[in-house]
């Protein structure tokens, strides 16, 4: 192997670790942002709770309690419309959250290094940098960040920043530690345009599913908070004095569960389209490489399972009694399957897709 190529790959590794370090910093900045949002929420909250306690103590009459209770619900829901509106606000009109800005700036910086790492790896290999586990991880996480940053132009999803950067640090760091392999020539079945298309689109779908997953988790938390708030309201004013937990406090500054659900759905359906394409493209490729378009190979099975799970999610959203939290669980399970497919299935399940590059 010429030393020039070797050193380019080591440059790539250096860039990867730099990117990981910057993402870790971004994660911290985003986490601080969330903590500060929750502190802001507490400030408002404390004042309100005090008022309610006073009101509840002063007048024990049922009507007053009921009024206080419904006021409490109103109060708990009060920030929602503004949070919903802020979600779709243009970048220039968004609230000035200093730490979130730092987080985003760091994410962009980390992304630049990440792209550098990906491109140098590709040049070192003389082909697209996504043909073994290490490279799938490298490019896949890059696409997750890319999609996140792109979406930021449209929606203020910075509250997902710590989730995204955290996920990327874990996946990329883990992959570099455990999956790294030197540049090696491609195995014959991988020498196909479908490698470029199929794997790339699958990674894009994964990125979108990741966003949907993050939003669905928040949706569930938010729905719980809303339900608790409503219950607290019905439970007479007394319950309102219970101090909300820290998690719930952060949630006060986030969009309503409805808004989160609707957004999660939008990412999931785009992801689903890409996944459908992945499935079709994979079959065409399998037909060229292995002589059959479908053979229930382990990886094919999991790609199909994921597809069906997300079809289930879309159906659940359209089924009375399933919209809301139940369907959110399907989005979560779907993404868990995506991660499982990428890690466990690639490493431990026997099948024709033996391209992890690991032994």
């Amino acid at each position: 192997m010429p030393t020039g190529t070797f050193s380019l790959d080591s440059v790539s590794i250096l860039l990867v670790w730099t990117a990981i370090a910057i993402y870790a910093l971004a994660f911290i900045a985003y986490a601080i942002d969330l903590a500060r949002r929750s502190a802001l929420a507490i400030g408002v909250k404390d004042a309100e709770v005090r008022e309610f306690v006073a009101a509840g103590a002063g007048y024990a009459g049922t009507t007053t309690a009921a009024v206080a209770a419904s006021a409490a619900v109103d109060d708990l829901r009060a920030p929602e419309p503004s949070a919903d509106a802020a979600l779709a606000a243009r970048p220039s009109k968004r609230p000035r959250l200093v730490w979130a800005r730092i987080g985003t700036s760091l994410t962009v910086l980390g992304f630049l290094f990440h792209v550098g790492a990906d491109v140098t790896r590709g040049i070192a290999a003389g082909r697209v940098p996504w043909s073994n586990m290490y490279e799938f991880s490298l490019t896949g996480t890059m696409l997750i960040v890319a999609v996140y940053l792109l979406v930021l132009f449209r929606y203020d999803l910075r509250f997902l920043g710590s989730f995204i950067t955290g996920l990327v640090v874990l996946l990329l760091g883990g992959a570099t530690l455990t999956f790294y392999v030197e540049v090696a020539p491609l195995m014959d079945p991988l020498k196909s345009v479908w490698l470029v298309i199929h794997v790339f689109v699958a990674s894009l779908a994964t990125a979108l599913f990741a966003l949907a997953f993050g939003l669905s988790v928040l949706q569930l938390m938010q729905a719980r908070r809303e339900a608790r708030a409503a219950a607290a309201g019905l439970d007479r004013a007394g319950a309102v004095t219970r101090a909300p937990k820290a998690g719930a406090r952060i949630l006060r500054t986030l969009p309503s569960s409805d808004a989160l659900e609707s957004l999660a759905y939008r990412f999931a359906i785009i992801g689903f389209i890409f996944w459908t394409f992945t499935l079709i493209a994979g079959s065409i490729w399998a037909n060229d490489a292995w002589g059959r378009y479908w053979g229930f190979d382990t990886k094919e099975v999991w790609t199909f399972v994921i597809w069906v799970l997300y079809a289930g999610y879309i159906h659940a959203r359209a089924t009375r009694g399933w919209r809301g939290s139940r369907s959110a669980w399907l989005s979560i399970i779907g993404f868990a399957a995506v991660m499982f497919n990428f890690t466990i299935v690639n490493m431990f399940f026997k099948g024709l897709h033996a391209y992890s590059g690991l032994n």
Binding site: Y265, F272, I273, I280, W290, A318
Partner: protein, 575 residues
Amino acid sequence: MSRSRSEAPGAGAGDPLRPSDHADSAAEIAQPALGPIGWLRWGWRQLTSMRTALVLLLLLAIAAVPGSIVPQRSADPNGVTQYFVDNPDLAPVLDRLQLFDVYTSAWFSAIYILLFISLIGCVIPRTKHHWKALRARPPRTPARLSRLDHHRESLVELAPGADPDAAAAASVSLAADHLRRAGYRIERYGSGSALSVSAERGYARETGNLVFHTALIGVLVSVGVGGGFTYTGQTVIVEGRTFVNTMLDYTSFNPGRFVDPDGLTPFSLTLDSFDVTYQEPGTPGAGQAGDFAANLTTQFAGEDPQPGQVRVNHPLEIAGDRVYLMGNGYAPHISIRNAEGDVVFDDAVPFLPQDTNMTSQGVIKVPDGMPEQLGLIGFFYPTAQKLESGALTSIYPALAYPVLTLWVFSGDLGIDDGTPRSVYTLDPTSMTQLAGGDSGVDSIQLMPGQWAELPNGLGTITFEDVSSDAPAVEAGSAIAHDADFGGSVKRFVSLSIHRDAAGPWVLTFAVLALLGLLAALFVPRRRMWVKATPDGHTLRIEYAGLARGEDPTLRAAVDQVAQRHGDAVEAALRG
């Protein structure tokens, strides 16, 4: 966030008929009349409900999983055999549960068949309904547009002396033009002095949904029916040999139900050469094989021969069949003479590779010409190296230092009683081992171009060097330092020949499904109303929109209609 509300005014005519428990439908499921027909109807409605579809989808996902954990007969038959060896107690239980044939099992089939019945029961009424909706006019404008989620209102001051009714008519005409140009289907209504236009767009959403679901049925039917006309066959060709496309020349052949095995297209394939490259030792991926290419000559009866090539990812198309390269290996050319010096065996024998360094194993059977039948098990090492144990192994897949070792058996090959025997295995139960293993006699060891004595004075065996005409030398002779063994052993390829009747149909339906999905998920279906009510010297113009299904951009759309129409009215009434 916008959610469509079917209880909102304007619902009804032109609604996509969805299963009764669709999230957007308000109708309660009616109690069944408890007659047998009633129960049937009720059962059918349950089967075609959203909830059933959902449950079946989730079941399908769960049911597919075991097939990725337990080896499947279809994808990995050797894995199944191994599983039985490794788990003698568990395997039969799993087998009874059809866990080695998950995708053809009764329970898996039951799930998808129910799902598709449900799907058909869902799609047919919706298609009828949609067909009607496609030709229906947009519904009457609701009396109170302000009750809708997305509602805008503006007051336009009329010029002194202007006719309010004429202004209303003009403004509604503008709205109608504008909406029509934006792809809406429109209908004008008027009640009292209020004039309005009712518009609807996005029928493609429901069309897409129906195309998608119907295409899924198409995929399933294609697979089912197409499979009957599909065949796959395997064959092995050694360099220089020819395969003829008849049943005789296949090592295995799996025809679909409607395939006539005697009606195969008559063509022949000759393997001229096989190319492969191996990564140099000492580089990453050392020994990795690549750039496989089987160079063939193809010929149809009575036509000129044509060159052809089969590579991985590039099957050869011939007469509607596709020829795939499935494997390759070495085929050592071996000749055997009996004690009288007569040639009793002379052939290139395909040896099956056992590892990535092409350590290969093969079997030679000599039924005639010897005092007893002779059987040999051979091990071929393209680049042999002695392990500490004394055993040989191959350390590189190319022919750097090729060595063939042979165990010799004599006795009854077991091929005379008509029992089918694989050419790749030797059953030594009724044979005596004469050389190798525990026989006490060393196994025969040859390099290309060498010969050796068979044990018991049975004759001689030669490992022919196919790259050289020089006479063979006795085994154990000195080997030249720079001896080049490249090309000394022939290669073989295993080819798979397919006729796939389903593939093109499956692909067509899959692409249709994808297109349908795009429309079903991204075309917004919505109604829009513009209503003008003269009110003294002003004109009250209302705009309202109603989503039919998921429609995140409705608000912006209503705003845009209001904005554009407002500007146009302004311009028209001024100018």
